[in-house]
């Protein structure tokens, strides 16, 4: 228990640190939203100054940070200059869209990686394992950008998938069911891209973890007791291999909000990624900070989840910390 509390405290500190750093970097980055306006001859300098004062960009740094933290605790995340709306609702919508993609992609990727990795490990060195190694190596070598673009070209050429965006024209007029199907079909391509880019690493990790366990003495001992092969694999082997895989799963969860930026941008999926990109380019300060903070929160949560799961799964950690 102490272990978990310890980890939780760490997580909180991490979040505070992340928010501070993000705030610092964003505000210290050269330029701000109003620089562009200043260059515009049609807008008078006084207007710019007035706007700056309105958005309190002329106050000293610590003051701005304090105000921001206060509003954060109230549930507000500042104001977007580009969109002219509060940041929080904007982020929620975009985050939801991103999660739609990444949750499915993560689930599929793991659902595929586990059996493939186990198969690879149980046939180590033989044909299936070698074939899989080649395939994963090939996928790893292809840069994500090339992969996404390649899929897009495939979609365009073949017409099998909708090419970008989240909804077709005339979406508002669809029935509930049709809307559902429409979004689902738009999700296909980005999810495929995400799964293909995540799969090789997952498969290799599963393979490595399971292969190592298959060589372990306790597995030979269990076999010597006449325990059936299937039981050996699931109850004995996988359980022992779980540790590194659980940590990896935690990272997968952590990357739910941050891993899909490239794919979203390429395929015009209205998620957090494109929003963040725009906001950085436009110096839309509070959107950037909000977005980064959101992603960081997920990362920290993911790590904490991994800690929790490992604590639950591995009795050695549980009892060691209790004995300590």
């Amino acid at each position: 228990m102490r272990y978990l509390l310890h980890r939780l405290t760490q997580a909180v500190f991490l979040l505070i640190g992340a928010s501070l750093l993000t705030f610092l970097f964003s505000t210290l980055a050269p330029g701000n939203y109003f620089d562009e306006m200043r260059l515009n001859p049609q807008i008078s300098p006084e207007t710019v100054t007035a706007l700056r004062a309105q958005y309190q960009l002329d106050r000293p740094l610590p003051v701005r940070y304090a105000r921001w933290v206060r509003s954060l605790l109230r549930g507000e995340m500042g104001f977007s200059f580009s969109y002219n709306t509060p940041v929080a609702p904007l982020l929620w919508v975009r985050a939801r869209n991103t999660l739609l993609l990444t949750v499915f992609a993560t689930l599929f990727a793991w659902a595929l990686a586990l059996p493939l990795g186990i198969w690879s490990a149980t046939t180590l060195g033989r044909a299936p394992d070698r074939a899989l190694s080649w395939a994963t190596a090939a996928l790893l070598v292809i840069p994500d950008l090339v992969l996404a673009l390649g899929l897009l070209i495939l979609a365009v050429r073949s017409g099998w998938f909708p090419t970008g965006g989240m909804a077709s024209v005339g979406f508002e007029n669809f029935s509930r069911f049709q809307q559902f199907r429409d979004v689902a079909s738009h999700m296909e391509l980005p999810v495929i891209a995400l799964v293909l880019s995540a799969l090789p690493i997952l498969v290799r990790h599963v393979r490595a973890a399971v292969a190592e366990v298959l060589e372990a003495p306790f597995l030979r001992t269990a076999a010597s007791h006449g325990i059936r092969r299937s039981r050996l694999l699931y109850r004995y082997a996988l359980r022992a291999a779980a540790n590194p895989l659980i940590s990896l799963f935690g990272f997968s969860v952590g990357a739910l909000l941050s891993g899909s930026l490239l794919v979203e941008v390429v395929m015009s999926w209205p998620g957090l990624g494109p929003l963040l990109l725009e906001a950085i380019l436009a110096r839309d300060l509070y959107v950037v900070i909000g977005g980064v903070l959101f992603s960081t929160m997920f990362l920290v949560l993911g790590n904490f989840l991994a800690d929790l799961l490992v604590y639950w799964a591995d009795p050695r950690i549980r009892t060691r910390t209790a004995a300590q």
Partner: protein, 337 residues
């Protein structure tokens, strides 16, 4: 005190190993012969000690009986006759039914032999569940009974513990509980007291004595320390470089050894605990050279290069087993063959 068991010549052996050959292939593709024609019997109710140092093939022997060799090991030929069938030719289903239930193997290093994330009680229940169809309650009860056989106190607490919470001696007892779980006829124990301190060692050996009498077990006890076999084994088999050097009743092999290797081995140990001053801190007579490289396939006797009594004949061919008397056989040209 109990009389040592003398095998009746008419009794059918429980286990008959004939001409067992096992080879390993290294990563580089080199082959090494770990067992080169091992033959012996184990009679019902007897304890056979297998005396072997590193490189003798003792662990290979234990693993081959149940066909549990690692991937790069192969049984090239031989027969392992047990309860009416040849284990080396048996179907996987049959083998799975024999493993743990009729022949139980206790591996080296108990800390590695138990699953780190399962409770000890569960690991024992798993062995029971693999061979007997019992419902949950009966499984639990039997597990506690088994633990009570090997632990003098508090079996319930042990059942709830994880392996890393137990000491080396306790872990060894758990392995023993797993071994006797399904009432096997034969238990093969590979270095069961390695790394344990003397009093724990004595306790474990005492446990073996109690259990073998109680459950009418046959034991094959594998170790590199002859002293451990002195008080426990009925017969001793001396293994050197994958071959049987000598086999016979314990007192004959350990007190009147015939094979040059056995003699040299026993001479290299300090004779008594309380050596007189002039023997103390003296040079012990050692076996010259190192254990043989098993990748080399020579024609003659494998001990020849280190043997004090070597003859020309020793490089030409392998010595066959020669009966020194009714119960004692030696594989050495000094005695014929």
């Amino acid at each position: 005190m109990e009389r040592r068991l003398a095998p009746h010549p008419d009794m059918t052996p429980l286990l008959q190993v004939q001409d067992l050959h096992v080879a390993y292939t290294s990563r580089a593709g080199k082959k090494s012969l770990a067992l080169a024609g091992v033959s012996f019997d184990v009679h019902p109710g007897e304890t056979l000690g297998v005396l072997g140092e590193s490189g003798s093939g003792k662990s290979t022997l234990a693993a081959s009986l149940l066909r549990l060799l690692p991937k790069n090991g192969k049984i090239q030929k031989g027969v392992v006759q047990f309860e009416g069938q040849d284990l080396l030719q048996a179907e996987p289903r049959t083998l799975q039914r024999i493993r743990g239930a009729r022949i139980a193997l206790i591996c080296q290093e108990p800390s590695l032999a138990l699953h780190p994330m399962l409770r000890v009680g569960e690991q024992i229940s798993d062995v029971l569940a693999a061979h007997e169809s019992l419902y949950r309650g009966a499984l639990r009860q039997k597990t506690l009974q088994l633990l009570a056989e090997v632990f003098p106190e508090d079996p319930a607490r042990i059942a709830e513990s994880y392996p890393h919470q137990l000491s080396g001696g306790q872990q060894q007892r758990v392995l023993i509980a797993q071994a006797i779980a399904c009432g096997p006829a034969l238990i093969v124990a590979d270095e069961p007291t390695a790394f344990l301190d003397p009093t724990t060692q004595q306790d474990i050996l005492g446990l073996f004595r109690t259990l073998r009498k109680k459950f009418d077990l046959s034991l094959v006890l594998i170790t590199h320390n002859p002293a451990l076999l002195a008080g426990l084994a009925d017969r001793v088999l001396v293994l050197y470089a994958g071959r049987v050097a000598e086999i016979g009743p314990t007192e004959k092999v350990l007190m009147l050894p015939h094979h040059p290797y056995t003699r040299a081995l026993l001479r290299s140990m300090p004779a008594r605990l309380d050596e007189p001053a002039k023997e103390r801190k003296s040079r012990l007579p050692v076996i010259p050279g190192e254990a043989m490289d098993l990748e080399v396939f020579a024609d003659g006797c494998r001990f020849e290069t280190r043997c004090a009594d070597r003859m020309d004949l020793c490089t030409k061919r392998e010595p066959a087993a020669v009966a020194v008397d009714e119960t004692h056989a030696v594989s050495c040209f000094k005695y014929g063959g």
